[in-house]
Symmetry: C2
Subunit: 467 residues, 2 copies
């Protein structure tokens, strides 16, 4: 690492963070500009690049064979494409005025400055780790990084017991519940919310809870964890809430993540209400022409509510990286925003949502009609037709689609994509009733479940509008 | 049946045709208006109402247990809802000026007039039955009606042989190929087109052919059937084309259907270039305030090409019926048109299309960029990730999506719905690259296959636009 460098025709792009957003940006910038035009230096404090954190529950559960299957591109592969990748090197300061970053080699401890012409901040997220008594007991694991996955697997392989407690009933929590079921554990999921999956309305969350209970999971809703109890050997033995104690040989924390923006804050870069960096449509940090940010460290515009949200998902991170790389490489691309789509599963239960929940709509002052319908994934007479429940919110009077939630079995979750596109396009539920969706008995009832919901929502909008 | 009736407060709605469009219209009109306000008389020449013709291949193939499972609502059920349903009664004339229809009781032969205030024409389609030597041999079957299905099953149960020839390699043809494979037949599919599934571009049809060949089907493309050969017993024994002869113990005709509009033509109602009735957006027959038409006897506006097409699909028929019933019942609803979505499968091969093929685009004067990509249904590392090929057409310069075709395995077909909604909304492929589609490893790669195609298409549009 050089303290300074000659100014010349060749510019330098510095990337902080070697995962989805950062390395997608680096790779795309490299596609736009060859090494003669643009030097690309990327810093990653960990041991891995470009891996699928979303895949960790499936690796832990055994559906995915090994850690390396989750790695989309290794450091060596990135280097072979002309990216000067510095692994185990942590950026400790961003000097925006001086256009340079300070980084520490975590092996040697050596620190130095690297100047940049263009900077990409892709520092990701850090898991929420509540300050609970006993949180550091042996056998308490997060599942955000590949290292976390390795540590958890090591515990599972060595733990004699068979009881697991998952703290948090969001996506990570329910996916980890599946993973632990698959590994033969008796699983308890503890969550503060009354129903699991608080990204759904409680009436839909109830369906998730009932299905999880049907899988043998104990779902302890409305439970605040007060402490984690360890034995004399320092190993976890139970999780205590205000009103119960759940024996545990292993504890998985799946409470969620926050944007990792300490560096950005220290550098005086603009942060939003959720602690994420604020960017413009081109993913430039606001007010900074040559600084971009993307992935789990930024807030994104929710196109339905018109407000900024924090939505740490790999699919957004990849898109951000692509857009940043294009712009940092001298091209033009924008990220219009999200509509809040997410899909997940617990064993054969599929869960999906997009757009606004009831409380989101209330919060932004949107009045709505809500309907819920039951339908099936295939024609009712076709083998394997699986039930699903679709909830749909439409704006009062205008009938504009506001959100969809789906809980069902095979074939349920990805149906939410139709609603995601409809939200993007601002379609009304009345217009949706005539959508030309694919129909054949093995794939859908003659009225696709999303259309059944749209019909009911449209009827309700009509009825309340004429009143 | 009365020759005339008293004029009073109660109006009479007459429906011609007791299947999807007609009975959906009748049922919805009944929901809108009670029997005191609206009398509803429906004529059906066959023995069944409201059945799923699309389900016949699965019944023949054994996936669906019995005929009655395909019947959504029986004559008795319709009558119980206050619809005066006359089965085995064929309408032989429509007297538009006199506001009456003439019908024949097919059992007794008796004919009489029934007057109407409002009329719904839902006469459906008739199968194409080429005038070939030998076409009437025993063992040659269509598969349009439940009666056809029964007759075919009877032949299959009684036929000692094991060789089947399917004439036509469209949806019906490929679905019947699957059904016959499941019944243990050696199957040959003969089609005039070079590749099967002419609703796809030939490069995508080739993938279907290769997959069908992989299933052991002989696909004889570019073959015109010249005659059907029968033995001395009158039973089919082979199908002859211009250059080959295929032994056959049973022959299934899956060549397609045409609108059944002889009655409408005789009544002077407006027909389009494809022989279907022409309606306005409210599904009213053009120029006729109190006459509606829907289902397989009408042409529909293709929203992508701006031209009228003939698209006989049960899903449209149901939508038409719903809209007609609302309007005929005094409400208001419209059918904006179709984008040309269709999904099908042959065993585990899934096939989907929406929008324009290359030749459709040429025909309407649209210049386009076409791209094809390979992707998978799930994250590459997730078990069951199945390959799929996505072809995408975007308009030159504007980048507006024009069409998508998908051939793949599990999880491929219904992805076309995203494109169907994007076509409806007029999205560009550039905008599509940022669509917020559901992502989790069991459901999609981090870039959904449709987004992978959109990225490639957007890049091509950009490259050719800047040139």
């Amino acid at each position: 690492m050089s303290m300074s460098r000659e100014r010349g025709a060749r510019e330098r792009l510095v990337v902080i963070g070697g995962d989805a957003a950062g390395m997608s940006a680096a790779s795309q910038a490299r596609r736009m500009r060859g090494p003669d035009e643009l030097e690309i230096v990327a810093f990653e404090r960990g041991r891995f690049t470009s891996y699928s954190a979303c895949g960790i529950p499936y690796w832990v559960g055994g559906a995915v064979g090994g850690r390396d299957e989750l790695i989309a591109r290794s450091p060596e592969e990135h280097r072979a494409r002309g990216i000067d990748l510095r692994m185990r090197t942590e950026v400790t300061r961003i000097d925006v005025a001086g256009r340079r970053v300070r980084a520490r080699d975590l092996e040697s401890g050596a620190e130095s400055w690297t100047s940049y012409d263009r900077l990409v901040i892709a520092t990701g997220a850090r898991p929420v780790r509540p300050e609970l008594p006993g949180i550091d007991a042996t056998g308490v694991h997060g599942v955000q990084t590949l290292g976390d996955g390795e540590a958890l697997l090591d515990t599972l392989d060595r733990t004699p017991g068979r009881r697991a407690v998952v703290v948090g009933a969001g996506y990570i929590g329910v996916e980890m519940a599946e993973a632990l079921i698959r590994r033969g554990y008796g699983v308890t999921v503890v969550d503060r919310g009354r129903e699991p999956m608080s990204t759904l309305d409680p009436d839909m969350g109830r369906l998730v809870r009932e299905a999880m209970e049907g899988l043998g999971v104990t779902v302890a809703g409305g439970s605040e964890v007060t402490k984690i109890l360890a034995g004399d050997d320092g190993r976890v033995r139970a999780v205590a809430t205000s009103d119960a104690e759940y024996p545990a040989d292993v504890v998985v924390l799946g409470i969620g993540v926050r944007p990792e923006t300490a560096l950005a804050r220290e550098a005086g870069l603009p942060l939003g209400a959720h602690g994420g960096l604020l960017t413009d449509r081109a993913m430039r940090v606001r007010g900074h022409e040559d600084v971009w940010a993307g992935g789990d460290c930024v807030e994104v515009l929710d196109l339905v509510s018109g407000q900024y949200r924090y939505v740490p998902l790999g699919t957004h991170a990849n898109k951000h990286g692509q857009i940043i790389g294009t712009n940092a490489g001298g091209g033009y691309a924008t990220f219009p925003g999200v509509v809040g789509t997410a899909v997940s599963k617990v064993c054969d239960l599929e869960i999906a949502r997009t757009g606004l929940r009831e409380k989101d709509a209330h919060r932004v002052g949107l009045r709505f009609e809500a309907v819920t319908v039951e339908s099936t994934s295939r024609a009712g007479y076709y083998p394997g037709a699986a039930p699903m429940t679709v909830k749909m919110l439409a704006e009062h009077r205008t009938g504009r689609l506001l959100g969809v939630q789906i809980v069902g079995r095979e074939g349920a979750a990805k149906r939410v994509d139709v609603a995601a596109v409809a939200l993007t396009a601002g379609l009304t539920v009345e217009r949706m009733t005539s959508l030309d969706l694919g129909y054949a008995p093995p794939f859908s009832p003659v009225w696709d479940p999303v259309l059944v919901a749209a019909r009911k929502a449209a009827a309700k909008v009509r009825a309340t509008t004429s009143a």
